[in-house]
């Protein structure tokens, strides 16, 4: 402390100034003394343009947002994911058919293309009706589009009955077929159910599985990793051992074993939560490791000691003071972990160990495309693949963009 006053004084009495002044005074014999009468602002050099000020005073999250918005692919992916999650809320409106509607006259019908022009005339979006023929020699169903039947699409219309979120009766859709026509954008399955509608409904299950699962694993990872990193010592080594053991199980066989353990007579909704919890329970290890290693370093910081001295409880120090430091990194890891959960659910349901009908997820849909026939004869059953691929890609790109943006001060 004794150093401080001396240091502050030092610039106040520069030894050489008077000498320089004297030399200046001698020069002033020829020149009149000049003082500018303009108003003087000592901070003139440091005054910021409004643009700079906006930048320098921006919060960390705002900076991250700016950086993220430069990453075009990430923004597009984010928008796509938002759209998908929005459709989850209103699946019933988006899908032209109900999840369970069977069109028994159209079993394994191929997709109907949407056209705009008929006979060189513009009539807006419409589909052609199909002629059905059962080939008697190999019992193959052949559907051919017939140019006479023109079914214009109806928009914002009343169509198939449904129960909104299983509660409210309704029949309003964004798009429906004409009263006597059909609209199978992606074909139908073995019971004549519209695949596009089923994919839309499946989105609700598949996307929320990832979200709930990641929430569970996020909470577990932060709490367990936080405790291990904050306390260190034997808590840390026990947690480390547990993580090591869990990581040495290959994920899918372990998931298979655990979901095989779910009782068969459970309610489908319970099974849904069971699967989500299984996916979440196995995934927290990576996050816990990241949290732990960050905390081991951060707990030595002065502000952590200060908080401790002021009597803050460990929980408050960890979650209020330490974790926010790298929350953005955690969010990135979480974003990158969602696709593996979505794929995991799909794989489990595909094997028949995950969701079971009547709950419909993407994996359940693909379960029907399990044999060679599907690929050879009804390739449209495989269209479920495209939303999976797109969503997983989008999560990866968004995660990449977030990772670059996570440290805006770099």
């Amino acid at each position: 402390m004794s150093e401080a006053p001396r240091r502050r004084k030092a610039p106040a009495k520069p030894k050489r100034r008077p000498a320089a002044g004297k030399r200046g005074a001698r020069a002033a014999d020829t020149l009149p003394h000049f003082t500018s009468s303009d108003p003087f602002d000592p901070n003139a050099v440091e005054v910021l343009t409004p643009e700079q000020e906006r930048y320098f005073t921006a919060s960390q999250w705002l900076l991250m947002w700016w950086k993220l918005s430069n990453h075009r692919l990430a923004v597009i992916s984010g928008a796509f994911l938002l759209l998908m999650y929005f459709s989850v809320i209103i699946s019933e409106f988006v899908a032209p058919y109900n999840l369970h509607t069977r069109n028994t006259d159209f079993i394994y019908a191929p997709p109907q293309d949407v056209h705009l022009f008929h006979d060189g005339k513009f009539i807006g979006p419409f589909v052609y009706g199909t002629d059905y023929l059962l080939k008697m020699d190999n019992l193959e169903r052949v559907y051919t589009p017939s140019p006479e039947k023109v079914y214009p699409l109806r928009f914002f219309c009343l169509g198939d009955q449904y129960k909104f979120w299983g509660e409210i009766e309704g029949s309003f859709h964004f798009v429906c077929p004409t009263e006597d026509g059909t609209l199978f954008l992606l074909g139908t399955d073995r019971l004549g159910r519209d695949i596009f509608s089923r994919i839309v409904y499946g989105t609700r299950i598949s996307l929320t599985v990832g979200l709930i699962g990641i929430t569970i694993s996020f909470l577990l990872g932060v709490v367990i990793g936080g405790l291990a990193g904050y306390y260190g010592g034997w808590v840390d080594s026990i947690v480390q051992r547990i993580i090591e053991i869990i990581r040495s199980f290959p994920a899918l066989p372990l998931w298979m074993a655990l979901s095989a353990a779910l009782p068969v007579n459970w309610d489908p909704i319970l099974i849904y939560f069971g699967i989500t919890i299984i996916l979440g329970l196995m995934d927290w290890t990576g996050l816990a490791r990241a949290v732990r290693s960050k905390l081991l370093a951060l707990r030595e910081e002065d502000y952590a000691t200060a908080a401790m001295l002021m009597g803050a409880r460990p929980g408050r120090i960890i979650f209020r003071h330490l974790v926010p430091n790298f929350l953005s990194h955690l969010i990135v890891s979480a974003t990158l972990a969602v696709p593996s959960m979505i794929l995991g659910e799909t794989a489990l349901s595909f094997l028949g160990l995950g969701m079971r009908p009547p709950i419909t997820s993407w994996g359940v849909l693909l379960n029907e495309a399990q044999d060679m026939n599907a690929v050879a004869l009804y390739p449209w059953l495989l269209y479920t693949m495209s939303p999976i691929v797109l969503v997983v890609l989008a999560f990866n790109f968004l995660g990449d963009g977030l990772r670059d943006a996570a440290d805006p001060y770099k």
């Binding site: 199980f249 066989p253 298979m256 074993a257 353990a261 094997l351 495989l382 693949m385 990866n396």
Partner: protein, 332 residues
Amino acid sequence: MFRYTLHRLLVMIPNLLAISLITFVIIQLPPGDYLTTYVNELQAQGESVNEEKLAFLRQQYGFDRPFHEQYLTWLFGMFKGDFGHSFEYDLPVTTVVGDRVFLSFVISFATIIFTWIVSFPIGVYSATHQYSWGDHGLTFLGFLGLATPNFLLALILLYFANVYFGTSIGGLMDPRYLDLPWSWGKILSVLEHLWVPVVVIGTSNTAGMIRRLRANLLDELGKQYVITARAKGLHPFKVLVKYPLRMSLNPFIADIGNLLPQVISGSAIVAVVLSLPTTGPMMLRALQSQDMYLAGSFLMYLALLTVVGVFLSDLALMALDPRIRLEGGVTR
């Protein structure tokens, strides 16, 4: 080196014990046991159940004993090479499993080799041609492989392999070789079938590997010694190969720890789709019919494969890179 190896080996023992306990708990989890499933099946078929025989079987298999006794019996049995009894096949587990474990290992091994072969040139190209169209395109291709569910890719590839190359559908060899002893023709047939699962499982892992190699190599290429070498007029190829490439090779070895569980996971589901005679399909059936010792042995074996693989990769990494000195605490 020796002390580290010994330490790692000693740590593996409690780990494996814990793994065996978890495995046993998991296979015990489903309510009831194999006999209840069996009885349900019999009753569904309308057959009567002999109570005495049931009681005898229950005692024979030790279902009436407390949990810890069952576990210890199973655990000590494993030390003696006795993995328990498969109820469904009514044979010892070791007999039922047979070649499957070995084939699983072959596929995992081939997949890792494939991942290396594919991701190495792509990673190097991406790093040396950063932000070029080739870089973007190849990275995107890698991502696509990551995003496509394995099992679907397997179905589609299998279909095309059948249509264009006439490969028989399903299995790991031509049906006519099934019961024959190993011969040159059989090996060729296995190789002909092997590429589909290997490519399918491999694609999902190459993306990560490419990105890591690319990032590592980019880090190295930006360093001063590379600039010096360039400034001195060293041939660009030599500049690349002599030091930076060697430095960035670490992930290839170090990543086995992450790669192996993924490969084994991937192969489990791909094997079900392709009905390969590996652990996957049999494990699935064992799980569904509560054939607990069979399922447990598979789970145990897969975990063991991972633990040993990680151990070997750590040793290899230390031999490869003298800068790495792993003391006591292990970092993966």
